[in-house]
Symmetry: C2
Subunit: 277 residues, 2 copies
DNA sequence: CCGTCCAAGTTGACTAGCCAACTTCGCTGA
DNA sequence: TCAGCGAAGTTGGCTAGTCAACTTGGACGG
């Protein structure tokens, strides 16, 4: 991020480099937008403890001057931190640091492979089956397909450093499934390959609950049939809102926990009674 | 929301009522801010299907004119809808409707009582024990207490229309616990009472995983000891960032599922390997 | 010593406008 | 017929400023 690409329409740039109020102890990514750079910088300052455990952030105006941006841009950055649960924010008083750390989250949740790497483990994927067949009603509903459309269904055993962790059953619409079907069975990250083919994953709905292992689960994971599994069902869409996968992951107990932050301001989590299947 | 309280500093109000582009089919709440009213209105239009299943929203400019507000305000409203997973949003093209429905979520997750009512069920709470004792290290850490501080610990069996659903173990800091300890044992909603005492719940971190039932769980829920339970651990803070409760809820399988939306833009969910206890 | 009140500081909300980046679609030319 | 170009439409990003609502802490008075 060190230098800014375009130096956007600020009348006079008056020599002060944009976004440099803090040395920016590199290693950050933060795409083009200024407010993302400010956010990334503040995030790092917070997680390294520069403002203390429950310390106060500088005022918006002060940060704006420090980074050489407008207050609106600083507010965009702070909104990001807030939705991540890093800081509070209420009228009349400075923002207060909340948690101590927080991970990148989206890609980590989306891709088993990314998640594994972020923990320093080696991800693995053993393809158990891949079939192409007509979609049933539930699948057509979830993937928004026409009656008579076909889907590709994969079943994979996912491992961390060799030990079985999760069974992944994914239903792909034809456009996506055709690509997956061509893949060698030892490709670990389908997500990665699909991204290279221009299939983007940008939005996902997750539902988390407990189920009993069926015969296939038991065979693949080596657990008792009927034993408890943590289930995550996920429907993912691309930027246009078109569904690109409908997946059901079943984790062995003790291998994973899901973590969410929500607040009165930005919420996204809810609790349901059973529903959909 | 039908009428606007203050009609804020718009130079000339030129007779066009603010926020009235749509009849506003009443029943909405939406607090003071204009952008919240616009958001509530759009949310309803979307969920009632006014824009179709995967339809396109009007352009920001058009909405701004329709509601008689600036484009910035419309963008604030749309950001809310986006973080709820209702619409997509990318440069160059109109927003697209994503899901079909979505609940209010935050209060629903925070309070078992609210959740129950929102499903049309009768919530119940049977107090099993309430003790006051010195906080252990983990509790001091979570609630940010001084060494030597005391905590109040409650164990409650929660029911839906009479049937056991969940065991709730909550640790309160003294300030909050003193209020809870005074409550009659048949008070169903602690959250509600605390709110009346000025204890506000605004931010929460949740962690969801699977555990085996211990002896107490089995006794209260009537399940087998060692049987699977869905566990939700939650730390809640007030607007100043001060922790107000640390709770651990254990649900019987099949009674509940947690649901999350996330996207590249606004994320909050992540996946962990075990951790904290 | 303690409570009240006020002023300064701070965030929330909103407006108006600009430019850039991107998508879509129709038109044109090969 | 089809590919490519370009214009129009749309959202992302940013600035600058205004006013309102709220919090905090200190001065002051009882």
């Amino acid at each position: 991020m060190t230098d800014v690409a375009t130096e956007p329409q600020r009348p006079e740039a008056e020599g002060r480099p944009a976004v440099e109020g803090r040395p920016a102890a590199n290693g950050e990514r933060a795409s083009g937008a200024l407010y993302r750079k400010v956010a990334a910088d503040l995030r790092e300052a917070i997680t390294t403890g520069a403002y203390g455990e429950a310390g106060r952030l500088p005022a918006e105006g002060a940060l704006a001057e420090q980074y050489g941006v407008s207050r609106g841009t600083v507010r965009q950055a702070l909104a990001l931190l807030r939705s991540d649960g890093l800081v509070t924010s209420r009228r009349g008083t400075r923002r207060v640091v909340l948690a101590g750390a927080r991970v990148q989250s989206f890609s980590e949740l989306l891709s088993f492979t990314h998640w594994a790497y972020s923990m320093g483990e080696e991800p693995g994927g053993i393809l158990d089956s891949l079939v192409r067949r007509p979609a049933d009603a539930a699948e057509r509903e979830q993937l928004r397909l026409e009656p008579g459309a076909e889907v590709y269904v994969t079943v994979r055993l996912r491992t961390l450093s060799g030990t079985p962790v999760m069974v992944e059953r994914t239903v792909y619409p034809p456009r996506v499934g055709e690509i997956v079907a061509e893949l060698p069975p030892d490709v670990v990250s389908h997500t990665e390959v699909l991204r290279e083919h221009g299939i983007l994953f940008t939005d996902a709905d997750h539902t988390i609950d407990v189920v009993a292992a069926n015969a296939e689960d038991a065979r693949l994971l080596g657990c008792r049939r009927g034993g408890p599994l943590l289930r995550e069902r996920r429907r993912t869409t691309d930027p246009t809102g078109t569904p690109v996968e409908w997946s059901q992951d079943r984790y062995l107990p003790g291998t994973v926990a899901f973590s969410v932050h929500n607040s009165l301001a930005t919420s996204a989590l809810s609790r349901h009674a059973r529903e959909m299947d």
